[in-house]
Amino acid sequence: MRLMTLVLLGGMAVFGGPAIANPMPTPVTLEPIQHADASLTLRSADGQEHRLDMSAIEALPTYRVETTTPWREEAAVFDGVLLSDLLGAYGLDETDSLLVTAENDYTTVFERIVWQSEPILVATRVNGRPISRRERGPILFVLEAGAYASSDVAREQHLVWMAARIEPSE
């Protein structure tokens, strides 16, 4: 019995341990600001398209994350809404996978496990102001650095900048 326990512990040490829960972004109330002219279009499963401007996005519960990103060595404060909330609001949260397109025609695919297990923030502000395009805005997907490093499912491809469109992946 003791030997079996040792074997199990050894196996866990060799093959890896259990996942650690990621911290949630902090809820925050945002004051209205003047945003750049940008929008995010969501096409729901029934084919209906919803073009959301920045204020429409920020109408959802807002959160704050202070973190670095792969392109920003110094931490910044990002505000925005949770991707899961945004998808839930437009009936896309139970979709198996989503295709996200950026303004520069960059595309990436999100599996459902990504937005269900990681608190990805759809950021609309950085350090309290709009995010310029040269800062990868106006709409930037952000995941807290620690959560990103420990995640088994989140990849750099999921940190979409200049996000412009979300739709079910065909």
């Binding site: 030997l3 040792l6 074997v7 050894g10 196996g11 060799v14 093959f15 890896g16 792969p70 392109w71 303004e103 520069n104 025609d105 960059y106 310029s132 395009r133 040269r134 990868r136 990849r155 750099e156 491809q157 900048w161 200049m162």
Partner: protein, 668 residues
């Protein structure tokens, strides 16, 4: 350890056992478990190593940004296109300027990201050149935008020249990235190939350990089964007979005790095969075993029908305990068994005829018997069985009141006979032997009578008891001593030389002690040895002929005469006659009784007498009862005879008194 058969090597059973024996030791099992744990850990480490390699390659692939050169080309092209359109249109409209700014922003971000990537692991001259070109493009675009596009032609030209240069460098770098990706894929393939090799080794080792474990398990299971089988067999043999599979004597004794303790009514049936020894001698022991099994089945079948208990007590003896004392039930059961056994059996084409004798004792009839009740009921059933044998075998005898009387008498006699011998309450009787020529008495045969409870018990009643109990040795010696004493005294007193014949059981001949006893008797009585004839009764079959002949030789060396008694009845044979090397042949009365009426009987008797003459043996014919018989015997050349015609057995003193003296030298 290894054997080759049909070109294939096999590990021998001994080798497997050797390995398993060592594996089953404490050191062996600990080593095997450690090997297994080590194997699991190594397998885990190997998989972990492969996964790490793949993850690292995947990470490197991510960092190499396979699509980065292409999307960068797209971003460069976007800026160039807008500038070209504005150039064609002749001015930078407000809308076109917004597009141009956005395209520059995208190019800025791309250049920023490109810088991060190029600073990372995928740096190369072409990439560095492309990055420098990107930054130059941004400078051109930003400066033109900031200045309000003062020279559209120059800007478009600069963007075209620098942009083409950037695309060329990006194309070269794209090829480098592709080759880098191929190396990563090769690295992954190698990692999986190594993993495959290790997995094969691990599976082989695990397979060997697994096979050994299964063999060990199988060996253990087989050992356990063999042990259980042996235990069951031992248990079976402790209470069952291996040949017939009937319960054995031990089981029978246990059941009998329980029946007696329970107080319920039951009967004991003892069964004995008739002439089983003859069957064995004739057909062999295989046939004997087959017959025992056959009879056992018949008894077991009856036991099952009657809710009884059948057992083999040993040899050719069986027992059946029946839960009834009803006479008709017992009679029917016995008859059923007799019929079933009489049917016989076929063995290898031969029909074997079989019969049994049965003795039955109801429990209630033996309550009076003293001692161990278990022994009592067995003895009474055995007594009934004895009667079946005595009455001709192949029958059953129920122990009833009549038999009970006989049994009591027999049992009492068994108890009293040793006392009678010890205290001399046995009387010696003499029957004369006469010369057929002149009817002169030449000697006597010493016989014994037992005065018991006011009556006389004849020898045929108590001699068998003496033989059964072993008292026959003591009884014979008593008669020998008394007869020698009487005849010696008479001879001395009357100056005669009468002889005396004493019967000796052939049992004496199996031991040399009789020689000493005879010598002592002769010494004590001063009887001349040639006046003592020892009549060997041939009612039993002798086996050790060498010992018998040696004893006879020693007796003859003492000077005694040896006589074969009752020739013509019992186990007579010419071989017997020759081996005994006797001086005298006593012809049994069964050969005499018919000589007056049967030509055949006369012929046989004549032949026997010729035989004796040729063997230089004197002949005494027993059982002469008529003058005609005496005349016939004399006519055949017989010289001595014995029988009622010449005198019945009477007390020795009375027989001696009736004799008339004969001259010395006429006898012997």
């Amino acid at each position: 350890m290894m054997r080759r058969r049909s070109g294939i090597w096999f590990i021998s059973r001994e080798a497997v056992d050797w390995v398993l024996d060592r594996l089953a030791t404490r050191i062996g099992i600990t080593s095997a478990l450690m090997a297994l744990v080590t194997l699991i850990l190594l397998a885990g480490l190997s998989i972990r190593s492969s996964v790490d390699t793949v993850v690292a390659n995947s990470s490197a692939y991510d960092q190499a940004h396979a699509r980065l050169p292409l999307v960068t080309m797209s971003d460069v092209q976007r800026v160039q296109n807008i500038a070209y359109l504005a150039h064609v249109e002749g001015s930078m409209s407000e809308e076109r300027e917004a597009e141009f700014r956005a395209a520059l922003d995208m190019l800025y971000v791309r250049a920023d990201f490109f810088g991060t990537a190029v600073v990372g692991s995928v740096s190369s001259p072409s990439a560095d050149a492309a990055l420098a070109g990107l930054q130059e493009l941004l400078r051109i675009g930003d400066e033109a935008t900031a200045a309000g596009f003062p020279d559209m032609d120059a800007m478009t030209f600069d963007l075209t020249v620098v942009g083409d240069d950037v695309r060329g460098n990006l194309a070269i770098w794209n090829d480098e990235v592709r080759r880098f990706h191929l190396r990563l894929i090769d690295g992954n393939v190698m990692a999986f190939m190594e993993q495959l090799v290790f997995t094969r080794i691990a599976l082989a080792v695990a397979g060997v350990i697994g096979v050994l474990a299964l063999l060990l398990l199988r060996a253990e299971v087989l050992n356990r089964q063999a042990r259980q089988h042996a235990e069951r067999r031992v248990e079976f043999l402790a209470y069952f007979d291996g040949l017939t599979e009937l319960p054995n004597r031990a089981a029978f004794q246990e059941r009998l005790s329980k029946c007696l303790e329970s107080g319920s009514e039951f009967s004991l049936m003892l069964l004995d095969l008739d002439d089983f020894k003859g069957i064995n001698d004739t057909y062999g022991h295989v046939a004997g075993d087959a017959i025992l099994s056959f009879v056992a089945r018949a008894i077991a079948s009856t036991a099952a029908d009657q809710d009884g208990f059948a057992a083999r007590l040993g040899g050719d003896e069986f027992a059946l305990i029946l839960p009834s004392e009803e006479h008709f039930v017992l009679a029917n059961t016995a008859e059923n068994i007799l019929d079933a056994v009489r049917a016989g059996l076929m063995l290898r084409g031969d029909f074997l005829s079989v019969s049994v004798s049965i003795g039955v004792a109801p429990r209630s009839l033996v309550d009076w018997v003293e001692g161990d009740p278990r022994d009592a009921i067995v003895r009474t059933a055995d007594f009934a069985l004895y009667f079946s044998k005595e009455k001709g075998r192949n029958r059953a005898t129920l122990y009833d009141r009549g038999l009970e009387q006989r049994y009591r008498r027999r049992r009492d006699m068994q108890d009293e006979l040793p006392v009678a011998i010890r205290e001399g309450s046995l009387d010696i009787y003499f029957q004369p032997k006469v010369s057929l020529t002149d009817r002169a008495v030449t000697g006597f045969e010493a016989l014994v009578r037992w005065h018991r409870k006011g009556g006389i018990v004849m020898p045929n009643e108590f001699i068998p008891l003496a033989e059964e109990s072993g008292l026959i040795i003591e009884l014979d010696l008593f008669i020998l001593r008394r007869a020698a004493e009487i005849i010696a005294g008479w001879n001395k007193e009357n100056g005669v030389a009468l002889s005396v014949s004493v019967n000796l059981s052939a049992l004496h001949l199996m031991s040399g002690k009789i020689v000493r006893e005879v010598a002592d008797a002769l010494d004590a009585t001063h009887l001349p040895p040639d006046l003592l004839t020892l009549e060997i009764t041939e009612s039993i079959e002798l086996r050790d002929w060498a010992r018998v002949q040696n004893t006879l030789l020693e007796l003859r060396q003492l000077g005694c005469r040896i006589s074969v008694e009752d020739f013509g009845a019992g186990f007579s044979s010419l071989a017997y006659l020759r081996a005994m090397n006797a001086d005298e042949l006593k012809i049994d009365q069964s050969l005499v009784s018919e000589i007056e009426t049967s030509e055949e009987a006369r012929f046989i008797l004549d032949a026997v007498m010729d035989l004796a003459q040729n063997l230089a043996m004197s002949v005494v014919v027993e059982g002469i009862e008529t003058e005609e018989q005496a005349a016939a015997i004399r006519q055949m050349g017989g010289s001595q005879a014995q029988g009622y015609l010449f005198g019945r057995p009477v007390p020795a003193e009375e027989a001696l008194a009736a004799t008339r003296p004969v001259e010395l030298g006429e006898t012997g």
